[in-house]
Amino acid sequence: MPADQPSVADTVRSLVTQRLNLNGYSQDLRPDDNLWSLGMTSLTCLGLMLSIEDTFEIELPEEALKESTFRSINTISAAVESSRK
């Protein structure tokens, strides 16, 4: 990956921060933090899913469309990486 290209995890972090309105918290957001505990709802998860797919130009498999996929930056990044293979 070129040095100036953000990693999947960085891009996911940016989308999570934006969609969940965590701007004041983003510095402390750890890759394994539970996003549902940080205020994500079924509706904001919906918007996050769409923005993840749009940004990475992927379509997550049907079986990935569940709460646990969107639990943390790590789980989302793993789903993105898996869909890109």
Binding site: L43, L46, L50
Partner: protein
């Protein structure tokens, strides 16, 4: 459309073959739409007709239908608000006029002594269980009856034969519709089978795996065991399975999605008390068709029905739906129903399009015709649609409006703001209908705020500006699969002049944001 008529062909059944390898018309789907179309084609002697569909009709809407021949009883505040909705409403009126002749045709093929038409009249009740939506839809029914100069009369609810609700759920108003009855859906389907066999059509108790053809035409269907049937024309009338079948040969992003409207009803044998002699029903209710009882003949009564849009096609029944239907039939229709004997559990999937309008017409691929998306009135409209489709297959003029063409942008009938209002009204109605309890200090206006907030947020998260019907909005907010299907489809129109406003389908107070 590229295929204005059925191809003239010299296709014939292979001599001596148990199953045909060729046919002039192959109809996929043996529900009301497919069977009535086959009947019309056989009547017109257009050539060889093969109908493919499993005899159990599992997951189909027709085998589970209450089959009320009601257009005015189904009226809502939306029915006549826009030209597009009015066009659809008038489709129902035209269909209603075809049923007497339809029943005369089928009568001699009836499978039993029980009459196919089980009643010729309806009573609409207004009780206080269904919240404000019941009230406004009850008024809309009366307005529509007056607009179309149809007979009706306000009566004392206690005069309705068989009607015996619990006192706390009793109706305070009721009207009698002397010309809206019902048929025995399962009896009609059985009669059609017998009539079709008698007329020489082939009914295959199988399913179709895929359509066969190229980017330009469809030439055959492949059955689940690999058997191929060449076809002059393929008509896909497979209800909720239609979209996926079409996509086996024609996969484009702007093909309108169709969602399963899973519904539950039950048929019970009356064990005592005065029987119902008419359809007795509430107006259409929150996200659904209202509570109703339909006489079936032979001491049987049909109690229906629930409706929920789901992601997966199935014939499952939710315990919540059983509870809902059993409890509220006893409370709101006849308390004696508690001891009736359930003889059949009916579960089926209505084909619900994203814009709520049917999909009927030629597809861009030569030789492929689609008829589906009829939601909750497919059975009632089937004889009329059969005449229309038979005309089109023969190269004659159709008899229904062109707004139902299957390849179209979604018909717009409301603004996003009115969509949100409608969603809130339906949600509140559903809240009270299902017996949900709020804390004593919680008011209806607080519930309203909650549902409004949900709807506003759903639009924000979906990022769409097409105004959805309340059932589709509920579905999209309820699961990620649904949200993705709705959003992806609507986003295909971004930057393309937004959604369609077909000729003759102006939006009244509607439009898009």
């Amino acid at each position: 459309m590229s295929n204005p008529t059925m191809r003239s062909s010299d296709l014939v059944f292979a001599a001596g073959a148990k199953r045909p390898t060729k046919a002039d018309v192959v109809i996929i789907g043996n529900g009301a739409l497919g069977m009535f179309l086959a009947d019309e084609l056989v009547e017109r002697q257009v050539g060889s007709v093969v109908v493919v569909g499993p005899s159990h009709r599992d997951t189909g809407a027709s085998q589970a239908a209450g089959a009320m021949l009601g257009c005015f009883g189904e009226t809502t505040t939306e029915s006549l608000r826009t030209n597009a909705a009015r066009t659809r409403f008038e489709l129902g009126i035209s269909a209603h006029d075809k049923w007497p002749e339809t029943l005369r045709r089928l009568d001699e093929f009836a499978p039993s002594d029980r009459p196919l038409q089980t009643t010729t009249e309806s009573h609409i009740i207004l009780n206080s269980v269904g919240a404000e939506l019941d009230t406004v839809n009850f008024a809309a029914i009366i307005d529509a009856l007056d607009q179309y100069d149809k007979p009706w009369k306000e009566i004392d609810p206690t005069d309705i034969p068989g009607y015996n609700p619990r006192p706390e759920s009793r109706a305070l108003r009721a009207i009698h519709l002397p010309t809206e009855g019902a048929v025995d859906a399962r009896g009609v389907l059985a009669s059609l089978e017998r009539r079709l066999r008698h007329g020489g059509a082939i009914l295959l108790d199988q399913t179709v795996r895929r359509l066969v053809g190229s980017d330009e035409e469809v030439t055959a269907v492949e059955l689940d065991d690999g058997h191929l049937i060449e076809a002059g024309t393929v008509v896909v009338a497979a209800g909720i399975h239609s979209e996926s079948l079409v996509r086996t040969v024609f996969d484009v992003p702007d093909l309108m999605p169709t969602f399963p409207g899973l519904g539950f009803a039950m048929i019970a044998k009356r064990t005592g008390g005065e029987p119902f002699t008419s359809v007795v029903r509430t107006p259409n209710r929150g996200f659904a068709c209202g509570l109703h009882v339909v006489p079936q003949g032979g001491g049987l009564e049909y109690y229906g029905a629930t409706n929920r849009l789901v992601h997966t096609i199935s014939s499952v029944t939710w315990m919540a739906d059983v509870r809902f239907l059993a409890q509220y039939s006893m409370q709101q229709l006849d308390e004696r129903a508690a001891t009736h004997e359930v003889t059949k559990w009916c579960s089926g999937n209505r084909p619900v399009t994203l814009d709520g309008f049917p999909l009927v017409g030629w597809m861009p691929l030569s030789g492929l015709y689609l008829m589906t998306g009829t939601y909750r009135d497919g059975f009632h409209c089937a004889p009329l649609l059969a005449e229309h489709v038979a005309n089109e297959l023969q190269g004659k003029s159709g008899i229904i409006d062109s707004i139902f063409q299957p390849i179209r942008k979604p018909v717009a009938t409301r603004t996003v703001e009115s969509s949100i209002d409608e969603y809130v009204t339906h949600s509140l109605a559903a809240w009270f209908e299902t017996g949900a309890q709020a804390a004593p200090q919680m008011t209806t206006s607080q519930l309203t705020d909650y549902y409004r907030n949900m709807a506003v947020q759903t639009y924000e998260q979906l990022g769409v500006d097409y105004a959805l019907g309340p059932d589709i909005l509920w579905y999209a907010q309820g699961n990620l699969h649904g949200a993705r299907r709705v959003a992806r489809y609507l986003r295909t129109f971004k930057g393309d002049g937004d959604v369609d406003q077909p000729t003759g389908a102006t939006t009244g107070t509607g439009g898009t944001r």
